[in-house]
Symmetry: C2
Subunit: 209 residues, 2 copies
């Protein structure tokens, strides 16, 4: 039995107590991957942003809001895990300054500066053991293969699952899995549950337990 | 039988095909108000941003994403209505420029300019008939009464329901209803369904049918 860490859902980066930057990730791929990993007999920990999806009861779920919180939770759990599947869509920018009170309208444009949040996968990859497998997801709107391979190299992961923005909140999805050599080692189309099962199987025989 | 227009949920303002600005409004108050209005025998139209909440089957629901779309939908429906209850939390800023492709990380801060979105309640109030009632909601983190009265006057509404940010996504809520004279004409604490019923009753005897 391996211990699989799955990140899932969006994160939120608050500008003030009310407004935040986010994306429409539903957490459904994360939930489906958790189900597939549990079905295969593994232990699953999910670190999830705010979602409405129900994770399998047998998964341990750690709920977070921001990208920094997602990273911190993963840093606590990952040393004990055999595999990270980073299916979350964390906010990659946060406001440089967070207002303590609601920003009031003035009639003037609002100029905000955003800074990059920590890269969760790249940070975890830095301390990774040789036996640990890291699988990232890439959501790209253009030049999908080239950008996904850049991401795989920068984040130092073992596999990358590539999909387009139509995957967000959709029931059906199309993904390709690329390895370090840029080879397509899996290509799946279908419902998220079915695709998640296929993705997990493609990852599975690479997990050394 | 009156025709009640209820706005509900958040809106989203996209920066690019993936990222958006929003808030955590759940649509639960809107759904509870719709239920209360239907129970009282009225016709209900809900204009709702993206939410997971289920609206009553007897309500007509118009789904929108952005604040401009919420305004446009309300402008089509409101002339036929007796009352607007603006329970939505529309984004009041949108990015000045929307990127056609996902904004890629460069390592540099991202400077974005946001402009105000149209004020839905104020816009609808401009063309309102004398017989129409407009009820706004004010979510304030400080100086709640003063800011709510400023909002009531600026938006030219008849009543304003005031609550704090703890109302967002919470099951329990505390609200006060202020009239044009700044009088507290109702103050309710409890579950959102119960409070919605009380709010609707307080509005109800002002509706001329």
């Amino acid at each position: 039995m391996a211990h699989i860490l799955i990140t899932s859902g969006p994160t939120r980066e608050y500008l003030d107590p009310v407004r935040y930057l986010s994306n429409a990730s539903s957490g459904r791929m994360g939930a489906a991957l958790a189900e597939a990993a549990l079905d295969a007999g593994h232990r699953v920990t999910v670190v999830s942003g705010p979602v409405e999806v129900a994770y399998p009861a047998a998964a341990e779920v750690i709920s977070i809001v921001s990208t920094q919180e997602m990273l911190s939770a993963c840093q606590r759990v990952f040393p004990d895990c055999d595999c990270l599947i980073a299916a979350a869509a964390p906010c990659d920018y946060r406001p440089k300054n967070v207002a303590g009170q609601k920003i009031h309208k003035t009639g003037e444009p609002l100029r905000l500066e955003f800074v990059e949040t920590p890269d969760i996968v790249a940070t975890l990859a830095t301390g990774k053991k040789a036996s640990q497998i890291i699988v990232a997801f890439a959501l790209e709107t253009e030049e999908q293969h080239r950008r996904a391979m850049q991401k795989l190299e920068r984040k130092r992961c073992d596999l990358i699952v590539v999909n387009g923005p139509e995957a967000i909140r959709a029931d059906r999805t199309h993904v390709e899995i690329l390895d370090k050599n840029g080879q397509v080692v899996g290509e799946f189309t279908g419902g998220k549950n079915e695709v998640a099962k296929n993705i997990f199987q493609a990852i599975w025989h690479r997990i050394k337990t």
